[in-house]
């Protein structure tokens, strides 16, 4: 069993040991450190090993349990020596250096990242599952040397205390992370102070999630502190976008839309049109102080020039070498060194601190002359630890960035991996800093390379190689630096590899700055006898930088390194607001033009469609050609008008109703007008008219209206086209009143006849009371079939011809010729179509349901028929008699009673439109059977009489 499995044996089933390492604690007792997970929350378990190595669960006695939260810190002074801090506890362990140790750190770091992430999403971790171990602890504590430490999870989570922990738990309420001074335990490893004047607490609660989520990407373990800066930044962005304080941010607010990016791009492109150049001098100094306290004066380093520089960039390495420095941030040395620096800045200048940032021993200080201070904006800082196991802070880089007027400048101070042969480690450290460092005030966070000017200083630790130490010393003695530099590892890299790509360095005209016997100018005389090297360097990158001097300051002897400094004159772009506004407006105008040019554009060959005479069941089709004349692909779509359910009337079929057209191409859309039995009724009754407007919408662009124009016959002087009313689709009521063929009836009269209840208002005197008992059109078809077709084979079973059906329609509507044209089958089909087109079926809709309910009882069926309106009843009996007669001729026409019953049932008994659509298939089938049964009674009954 490996350690992990042994620990697992001690855990609840839903808890999992992710990784476990063994080590030795401060009292030299063997311990096991395990990271345990339960539902995404992780905790650090520390066991005392009762047997070494442990072989089963009982060999481990629980000593400590810490939730992995913001409060827990793990710091490594050396790779084999770590300390764990949480709350008041501070435990030290020696651990072996092996792959599982690395795993352990990776897991721990991940656990912390996850914690801050989920806390950021407002999902406070729940560590109540650790409670049960509390009892264990007290039991087992007898046998361990930490008996006095009582496990108190609530205490560790500081539920009731103020402080950073509480902030994490209560983020939904407030998002200003306290950024109090040095007693903020979050600051333990790092310090970043800012004294810029534009800091304001801005409550912007809705942004908290993204803010905190961002922080999860941070590289070092303990730098969550800078969250508050991001939060503030968001506040500023909101201000910028015109949101008054207290106004909730817009839901659709999104910083940095593509347009904004483009504006920035073009503005940057045309920067020279609205900026003037101003020159500032920059002093860059770097010194590895080897953990020493400052000497009385460092004027010899910082103030050797006659004129005071405008900006001071001062980097230290190995500020604090004590183990403590890896753990606590409020390093005494930081304070004394900073005081010394401030004391020794050029006496002729008055300076203000812009930023101070420190990662363990790597500290960067930036000062600017008072007079320029107000022009500094968006000062930000970040750090990347590259030290032990790639996460600890004993090596790494810190950076400060500022913007002065319109020029962005980034300063990096680094301490890269040591040792003569570790070139690749140093290169890797450089890459880590370059790629991981992010100024999170910006959205998305800004990288080092996105600055106009970069100064990169520090103890880069590159050595002189491929040359014997004595030769090196000889060359130095002869001041032949030019030759010696050829052997400098960094010089070899510059410009030739991807390391420090784009960076330059002034010519080195001073002797190596490392390694001296402390307090002297003598080369290292220790046992190791280190080869001299230019460890301490100043590199720069960007436009408008004029290097002035590059030197070392051997007078300062406290360290094994000599301090280095370099002076530059840099160009600062100063914006002229008037010219800027003009360019800005220009750019906006150009973008507007661009946007309008890139709107989808199409040409249509028709905006209006005129149709000729449109008749029942006679399709007419026309084409609409849509040509993409713009510069971008177009998606067109017919869209619904206002609250309509469909984009067109039911008699208009459009296809394709949506499609994509690439520039220069076209699509032909078919527009078909077809009046069928479903929509003819509304047209006859005037509920619908044959006109429509379609809205053709281009996605992201304009709309076109396409009109369909039809004018009713007799209505106007110019007739573009018209719907020709047909007896098909007229109501039984209208038909029995209608004398003469429908084409001879004035439209107005037709509409009157179609008015509901028109039959009861019939002016008997005027019409002579002449009502047809059944519609004459039906009579004509029935009579025709009876006369010429009752012996016809397959009557009602063979389809007719469309052409002939249309001719029959015309004959019925116009009254001529006397004899119906076409075959018997076409007449039979016309009859069925006629019945199907009746807006109200033979048995009107309101009776549909009761008919279905009484199909088992013929008497009840008959009673329903008695209740339907007279004209419908007459028609019903007429049709039933007709079909009974046909059945009596079945030996000739092959009519089967069953198929006839179901066919007739379907036509004379139709479900109300409101019901028909949503019935299931099974239900519909059973309805079909019932309808057939209903008709069957009447067709077969012995006692049928009218």
């Amino acid at each position: 069993m490996n350690l992990c499995e042994i620990v697992q044996a001690r855990l609840a089933p839903d808890e999992k040991c992710l990784v476990c390492i063994d080590g030795v604690d401060g009292s030299k007792l063997a311990v096991s450190l395990a990271i345990v997970e339960r539902r995404g929350d992780r905790a650090l378990f520390i066991f005392n090993n009762q047997r070494v190595p442990p072989v089963r669960g009982s060999d481990l006695s629980l000593q400590k349990v810490y939730p992995v939260d913001l409060d827990l810190k793990c710091l490594a002074a050396h790779e084999h020596n770590i300390s764990i801090q949480s709350g008041k506890d501070n435990l030290k362990f020696d651990i072996p250096r092996n792959p599982s140790t690395h795993d352990f750190f990776v897991q721990l770091k991940l656990a912390k990242d996850l914690y801050s992430q989920s806390a950021g999403f407002g999902l406070p971790a729940s560590f109540s599952w650790l409670d049960k171990y509390r009892d264990q602890l007290s039991k087992e504590s007898n046998s361990n040397p930490f008996a006095n430490d009582i496990f108190d999870p609530l205490g560790y989570m500081k539920i009731n205390e103020s402080g950073p922990k509480k902030t994490a738990a209560s983020k939904s309420k407030s998002l200003i992370l306290p950024k109090s001074g040095s007693n903020n335990s979050l600051n333990s490893l790092t310090v970043s102070r800012e004294r810029s004047p534009h800091r304001k607490k801005s409550p912007s609660r809705t942004k908290v999630k993204s803010t905190i989520a961002k922080s999860a990407s941070k590289e070092s373990l303990d730098d969550l502190d800078s969250n508050s800066e991001i939060v503030e930044t968001l506040g500023e962005i909101q201000k910028q976008f015109g949101l008054a304080v207290g106004v909730p941010p817009k839901e659709n607010f999104k910083p940095g839309t593509a347009r904004d990016t483009l504006i920035e791009y073009f503005l940057h492109d045309r920067e020279s049109e609205f900026t003037d150049i101003q020159h500032l001098s920059v002093f860059c100094g770097t010194w590895n102080v080897n953990g020493k306290l400052p000497p009385d004066s460092i004027l010899e380093w910082l103030s050797v020039d006659t004129e005071p520089p405008d900006i001071y960039v001062i980097g230290f390495q190995e500020l604090d070498l004590s183990n403590q420095a890896y753990i606590f941030s409020d390093s005494q040395k930081e304070v004394v060194w900073q005081e010394k620096v401030e004391e020794c800045l050029h006496p002729k200048g008055r300076y203000r601190e812009v930023k101070l940032i420190r990662l363990v021993g790597v500290m960067l200080l930036v000062y600017i002359k008072e007079e320029y201070y107000s022009h500094v904006r968006h000062a930000d800082c970040d750090m990347v630890a590259t030290g032990i196991l790639g996460v600890m802070g004993n090596k790494g880089g810190v950076s400060v960035r500022i913007q002065i007027h319109n020029t962005s400048i980034c300063f990096v101070n680094c301490h890269l991996a040591a040792h003569q042969d570790e070139i690749e480690r140093r290169n890797q450290d450089y890459r880590d800093i370059e790629f991981k460092l992010r100024f999170k005030q910006f959205l998305p966070p800004l990288t080092i390379r996105e600055h106009d000017i970069v100064f990169w200083i520090g103890d880069m630790n590159y050595r002189i190689s491929d040359l014997d130490i004595n030769e090196i010393k000889d060359l130095i003695a002869a001041s032949r630096y030019k030759e010696l530099v050829m052997f400098d590892q960094l010089t070899k890299q510059l410009g030739k590899t991807d390391v420090f790509r784009g960076y330059s360095e002034q010519a080195i005209k001073f002797q190596p700055t490392y390694k001296y016997d402390t307090g002297t100018d003598d080369w290292d005389t220790s046992e190791k006898c280190r080869t001299p090297a230019w460890c301490d360097r100043v590199l720069y990158k960007g436009r408008g930088i004029e290097p002035k001097v590059y030197r070392f300051h051997p007078v300062l002897k406290i360290s094994d390194h000599k301090p280095v400094s370099s002076l530059f004159k840099v160009e600062i772009k100063v914006v002229d607001p008037k010219r800027c506004k003009k360019v800005y407006e220009d750019v906006n105008k150009m973008l507007d033009r661009l946007e309008n040019d890139y709107l989808p554009q199409v040409e249509l060959d028709h905006r209006e469609f005129f149709f000729g005479e449109v008749k029942f069941i006679e399709s007419q089709q026309k084409d609409l050609t849509v040509m993409n004349t713009g510069q971008v692909p177009v998606t067109y779509e017919f869209i619904n008008k206002l609250d309509d359910r469909n984009f067109s009337k039911p008699w208009l079929k459009v296809g394709p109703n949506k499609s994509v057209i690439v520039p220069g191409n076209k699509v032909v859309i078919s527009m078909e007008v077809y009046i069928d039995k479903n929509n003819v009724g509304d047209l006859n009754s005037g509920k619908d008219t044959l006109s429509d407007i379609l809205v053709l919408h281009l996605h992201g662009g304009k709309d076109f209206f396409i009109s369909f124009l039809f004018l009713l016959l007799n209505d106007v002087s110019t007739v573009y086209g018209t719907y020709v009313p047909s007896s098909f689709g007229c109501s039984v009521e209208a038909l029995v009143q209608m004398h003469g063929p429908i084409r001879e009836v004035p439209v107005a009269t037709l509409l009157d006849l179609e008015q509901p209840g028109s039959l009861s208002k019939v002016d008997v005197a005027a019409t002579g009371g002449r009502l047809y008992s059944v519609p004459k059109e039906i009579w004509r078809m029935v009579d025709h079939i009876w006369r010429y077709g009752r012996h016809q084979d397959d009557l009602f079973q063979q389809p007719g011809l469309d052409m002939e059906v249309q001719q029959i329609r015309d004959c019925l509507d116009t009254g001529s010729p006397d004899l119906l044209p076409g075959s018997i089958h076409s007449v039979a089909e016309a009859l069925l179509l006629f019945l199907e087109s009746l807006p109200e079926p033979v048995i009107p809709f309101p009776f549909y349901q009761s008919c279905l309910e009484c199909v088992n009882n013929y008497l009840l069926c008959k009673q329903i028929i008695l209740k339907i309106p007279e004209c419908h009843r007459n028609l019903f009996h007429y049709l039933i008699s007709f079909f009974r007669e046909l059945l009596s001729n079945a030996e000739h026409n092959n009519l089967s009673i069953k198929s006839l019953a179901s066919m007739v049932g379907e036509i004379i008994l139709r479900a109300p439109p409101s019901m028909s659509s949503n019935a299931s298939r099974q239900l519909r089938k059973s309805e079909d059977l019932k309808r057939a049964a209903f008709v069957y009674h009447f067709l077969t009954s012995e006692d049928y009489d009218e």
Binding site: G242, E264, H268, G700
Partner: protein, 218 residues
């Protein structure tokens, strides 16, 4: 150097603010009063004697800068012909601002403008800013039919702001839109966007446009 500088937060560097507020604006009015001409004058700076009648709704976009803030107008220029009247609500729904245009040489168009104002005030919220524009003022000398005082009185009574404009000469056109933008800023309007009708540079760049949600202004 990447050459691309990210917009810093806080709008430093003395340059006008970055993000634009999007604004739906609709042009309404009788046919031939010059709605399309006004929109084109504003967006492109041209004028056409033979401007064809709008059959549908044209879409244009233009940004104005007021007091350092950007207002991006999404302009819907509608069809004035009576037979399309019933479709107008498709375009004024969800708009934050409307320009009702009449032709100062036509009393009929002025009467039509009244009915547009009435409809707008009935169908849209009280927050919609309405401008009344008397267009074709270049023809005032010969054929004026609607007196300026009369229109101003009407505007006053109905809480609109009124301007006489000429799409032909450009007179007051910039002013018209600029004043609208100012009004909008003054009222601190919350952006309202309709779902599917906005083209941004994001679309130009082929970037996926993010879902836009409708916000409600109260």
């Amino acid at each position: 150097m990447s050459g691309l500088q990210r917009p810093p937060p806080g709008g430093g560097s003395g340059r006008p603010g970055g993000g634009a507020q999007q604004m739906k604006l609709v042009l309404l009015g009788d046919q031939g009063v010059g709605k399309s001409s006004l929109a084109l004058r504003f967006v492109r700076g041209d004028f056409r004697e033979d401007q064809e009648a709008t059959i549908g709704a044209a879409f244009l976009t233009q940004t104005v800068n007021v007091q350092g803030k950007n207002i991006k107008f999404d302009i819907w220029d509608t069809a004035g012909q009576e037979r399309y009247h019933s479709l107008a609500p498709m375009y004024y729904r969800g708009a934050q601002a409307a320009i009702v245009v009449y032709d100062i040489t036509s009393t009929h168009s002025f009467e039509q403008a009244h009915s547009w104002v009435k409809e707008l005030q009935k169908e849209t919220g009280p927050d919609v800013i309405i401008a009344l524009a008397g267009n074709k003022v270049d023809m005032a000398a010969e054929t004026r039919a609607v007196m300026k005082e009369e229109a101003e009185k009407y505007a006053m009574e109905h809480g609109l702001f009124h301007l006489e404009t000429s799409a032909k000469t450009g007179y007051n056109v910039q002013n018209l839109f600029q004043t609208l933008a100012q009004e909008i800023i003054r009222n601190d309007y919350v952006v309202t966007q309709t779902r599917h009708r906005i083209v941004t540079t994001a679309d130009l760049l082929g970037e996926q446009s993010y879902p836009r949600r409708r916000t409600c202004c109260s």
